[in-house]
């Protein structure tokens, strides 16, 4: 018998069955190639030699001796820090379908243990709420079946672009045009925008792939798709290239990367698409950016002007300024001035009950070029789990409220609203985006969806799959700064997928607009087309209740 004292059981001791993901391994199929253990980003599995006692059940005592068999197999580690994250890369590389992670059908016990060393749980990804969200439930119900029959999505000409920038009232435009006064810059862009993901959060290969894809869409397909950098600047060669016009540069509370940007201004061949001032984001409202030390490589350190291997938490607010109203006003003005008032400058805020107040400030600020509201389902490279899961406001009603407020003032064309946060969370990217557009958005930002569609990001809200963007171990090489990992990601292939994704979005947009009889302009605010089988939501969003 084994003595009871030698059984290791500390408060944090867990069995494989206590983990959110349990490795299912079939020894009869395993070829012992070792690929799964080599590829596992978190070292959750090990290839080990095991011994099995082989008792001989014979009556004769002299012959009754025990022999042992040794064998080799895969075992799951039971350290909290080595927990299986369910990414499933082992299953992807296994030549023989011998291994896969399966979600624990019971409540895992890691959730009670993942505060080791007093650290609250941090992760990447977005709010863990599986299943259809509100946007997925919106239907386009106003199908043209009478006077104006549905259009031919395949052959008809559609105008799908939107405007980014402050638009004057017609009266003011005419007045300024006659007097030769300043007209605020306006960009005509595709309404699905690659949202802000920083150079630092994303690997260089991912970033390059996105940019290549965006450039191809613009220059070959004439689709004015733009992408936003997150906080953390932009590689100098891009700043000085003609591709800068496809990029929205973000400035956030850490001002990372802005030394490089400001220094590059005299050498820029073109202006950036816009400047985004981040005041908040949906994944971690009220919290600044967070680049964990694992990802602060030599390159990132140089771009951001910081030492290597240190955590880079941005402050929650723009510290140099006194109040948000003032900071919005001053930053918008000073950044406009940096490019001689030729570049639209707009803030990005977290979805919030106070979004309307921010918006009203912007309406009165003649330099504000728009407002981006990022709802609670927005993703991030790194945040505290509690922020991600429980902080923030859903995007649909927040956006709708702001839009209706603008309508009441007759200003809905003047300040474009952009929406983000969970667009395409369940794969219905065009439907989600168009629903938001018909609720009043001028366009939508996509982050996680693009990583999933263009680079095969494995992260998901079902059982918190993967979501380890924060520690630089992204099994696909999307959010890693370790060349050994990000070499897995071929930028050309990412670019191809970016193009595929946007071409498909364009087709689906037409497939949505054609039956509604819309083709001449993006149906912003066409709320009569929407229906939902949820009375309360219908009332809140002022759309039709259908059942």
């Amino acid at each position: 018998m084994v003595s009871i004292r030698s059984v290791p059981s500390t408060p944090s001791s867990l069995a494989a069955n206590d983990f959110p993901w349990i490795i299912e391994h079939r020894e009869d199929r395993c070829t012992l190639c070792g690929r799964c253990t080599a590829v596992c980003p978190v070292n959750a599995i090990k290839l080990s030699y095991m011994r099995q006692r082989m008792p001989k059940l014979v009556l004769n005592a002299a012959e009754r001796k025990t022999s042992f068999r040794t064998f080799v197999g895969i075992r799951q580690k039971t350290d909290v820090s080595k927990r299986c994250v369910g990414c499933g890369l082992c299953a992807m590389v296994c030549p023989n379908q011998a291994i896969k992670p399966v979600p624990n059908p019971t409540r895992d016990r890691v959730r009670f243990q993942n505060t080791q060393h007093g650290e609250a749980w941090k992760r990447g990804g977005r709010r863990n709420e599986p299943g259809a969200n509100l946007l997925d439930k919106i239907l386009f119900t106003r199908i043209s079946m009478l006077t104006d029959p549905a259009l031919d999505a395949g052959r008809h000409e559609f105008f799908l672009n939107t405007l980014l920038g402050r638009v004057l009232s017609p009266e003011e435009y005419l007045k300024r045009k006659m007097n030769g006064d300043w007209i605020p810059p306006v960009r005509e862009i595709f309404p699905f925008i690659i949202g802000s993901m920083s150079f630092g959060a994303l690997s260089p290969n991912m970033w390059l792939g996105l940019l290549q894809g965006v450039a191809y869409l613009n220059e070959v397909h004439h689709m004015p798709v733009v992408m936003a950098t997150g906080e953390g600047g932009c590689p100098p060669w891009v700043l000085k290239s003609k591709f800068l016009k496809y990029i929205i540069l973000q400035i956030a509370s850490g001002y990372f990367g802005w030394d490089e940007i400001i220094r590059a201004i005299p050498e820029m061949q073109c202006d950036p698409a816009a400047i985004e001032i981040k005041y908040g984001q949906g994944a971690k409202p009220g919290d600044g950016g967070l680049l964990m030390w694992y990802k602060v490589s030599k390159l990132i350190a140089r771009l951001r002007g910081v030492p290597e291997g240190v955590d880079l938490p941005s402050p929650p607010v723009h510290q140099t300024l006194y109040s948000i109203e003032e900071s919005v006003m001053k930053m918008i003005q000073s950044l406009s001035m940096a490019w001689d008032f030729r570049v639209p400058v707009y803030p990005k805020i977290s979805g919030s009950n106070s979004a309307k107040a921010v918006l009203n400030n912007l309406v009165r600020n003649p330099y504000a070029a728009g407002l981006l509201i990022d709802g609670v389902d927005g993703g991030t490279g790194a945040a505290y789990n509690v922020s991600m899961d429980f902080m923030g406001h859903p995007i649909a009603s927040n956006l709708r409220e702001c839009y209706l407020d603008l309508c009441a003032q007759g200003k809905q064309n003047e300040i474009p609203l952009f929406a983000a946060g969970g667009v395409g969370k369940n794969g219905n990217v065009t439907q989600n985006g168009m629903a938001l557009i018909m609720l009043g958005a001028s366009g939508v930002h996509l982050g996680k969806y693009i990583m999933q569609a263009a680079a095969g990001c494995l992260g998901a809200e079902d059982h918190n799959r993967c979501n380890i963007c924060n520690i630089g171990l992204c099994p696909k090489g999307i959010t890693s700064q370790n060349p050994k990992i990000y070499r897995r990601l071929d930028p050309d292939k990412v670019a191809e997928r970016v193009v595929d994704t946007f071409l498909a979005i364009r087709t689906e947009m037409k497939k949505i607009m054609a039956p509604l009889g819309r083709s001449q302009s993006l149906p912003i605010g066409m709320s009569d087309a929407l229906g939902i089988a949820d009375k309360a939501a219908a009332e809140r969003l002022q759309i039709k209740y259908v059942c």
Binding site: D148, N413, Q520
Partner: protein, 380 residues
């Protein structure tokens, strides 16, 4: 799809001929509404001074008529002529038509010294106040227009029947411009206010087809806070209000209307001599872009008539005629019915960039293309 007919002539003519043209296009409407606007008026039993405002509408009850009388009296309007239609309600479905109103008023003394713009505003506010009064009393009073030299009639029924119901075949009223629309009820309820043409401050338009961009356009116009931008029982009312907005509020020339409702594409504007101005105009008026298919016909206070198309699916609307008399109709057979003895080689069907304009002298119609230089020197 509704049917449209417009005739303009140097000689005043009976509106019944336009109804006959509507009859020629009968397969295109369902009798759910008929509207008629007349301009350049002559009455057989009254010598009309074309500066006096005319109230067009319906008093559905005697009580409504009394209220109307009291209302007008209180505001200092003096009734100069009350046109008595020879009504025969057996031709139409509606029974609650106590009195069809075409009444000429003398302007109140208090309006003296008001600018033209202020007078126009007063007339619109009077019409809106009457409309509101009717709506507050269960819809017993409808007011379609209150404007000099304009009569507007709206009724539910087939054109010839409506014409007979009101005795319009007796030629007691003649007009130099007459515009009629037979309605195919789309997704909006049957309502007298939903009948085309729509009217605001001297500007009237009518449309066939559906405007799928109606809600965003309505929301934008409503947000302007202009008191006349109300109603919207029909998705086509926005066409009238956009034309009003372009001409009266922005004070742009008529040609700008087309650039607002169906702007050129970006790549076309890049080659346009005034592309920079027009691109900016497209941006600022982006919410007014229509989504047809539509043919829009309109008339302005100076008797100018216009015809434009949407940019999407072209309708067969046609203009034809001869110097002095022109007809527009949503189908060519309508033009044939109105002016059979014309040179058909002068017929024209406008395409995507065109605005057809018949100026008040009616000698020839003008085709103006969006690709042409924009006639606004200071904007160039």
């Amino acid at each position: 799809m509704c049917r449209l007919a417009l005739k303009t002539s140097n000689e005043a003519f009976s509106p019944y001929g336009v109804f006959e043209a509507m009859e020629a296009m009968q397969e295109g409407y369902d009798g759910s509404g008929l509207g008629l606007i007349m301009r350049g008026l002559e009455f057989t039993d009254y010598s009309y001074n074309s500066n006096d405002p005319i109230l067009s509408g319906i008093a559905h009850t005697e009580e409504a008529l009394h209220r109307l009388n009291a209302f007008m009296q209180e505001r200092g309007f003096e009734l100069k002529y009350d046109h008595e239609f020879h009504v025969d309600l057996s031709h139409i479905e509606a029974k609650d038509r106590y009195k069809y109103l075409v009444r000429v008023y003398k302007r109140p003394r208090s309006w003296k010294g008001l600018s033209q713009e202020e007078v126009e505003n007063e007339m619109m506010m009077t019409r809106l106040a009457l409309r509101k009064d009717g709506e507050e009393h269960g819809g017993d009073l409808t007011s379609f227009a209150f404007w000099p030299d304009v009569i507007m009639i709206k009724e539910v029924g087939w054109p010839l029947e409506v014409g007979k119901a009101l005795g319009l075949d007796e030629d007691r009223i003649k007009a130099r411009v007459c515009m009629a629309q037979g309605r195919q009820n789309t997704n909006w309820g049957i309502n007298l206010y939903a009948c085309h043409p729509f009217f605001i401050q001297g500007i009237a338009t009518m449309t066939n087809g559906e405007n799928t961009a109606f809600i965003p356009i309505r929301d934008w116009l409503t947000g302007k806070g202009f008191p006349g931008y109300i109603g919207y029982q029909s998705d086509s009312e926005v066409f009238t209000h956009i034309l009003h907005y372009v001409i009266k509020q922005l004070k742009l020339p008529l040609q700008a209307y087309k650039h607002v409702i169906t702007p050129l594409k970006t790549e076309e504007l890049e080659r346009h001599p005034q592309g920079d101005f027009l691109l900016g105009l497209r941006n600022v008026c982006r919410r007014l872009i229509i989504d047809g298919p539509n043919a829009v016909m309109g008339t302005l206070p100076d008797e100018t008539c216009l015809l434009v198309m949407d940019a999407k699916k072209l309708r067969p609307a046609t203009i034809g005629g001869k110097p002095g008399t022109w007809a527009m109709a949503s189908e060519m057979c309508g033009v044939d019915a109105m002016i059979p003895d014309r040179d058909k080689s002068l017929d024209f069907q406008p395409m995507r960039p065109h605005t057809v304009i018949v100026p008040p002298d009616r000698q020839e119609y003008k085709i103006w293309s969006q690709f042409d230089q924009f006639p606004l020197p200071q904007a160039a």
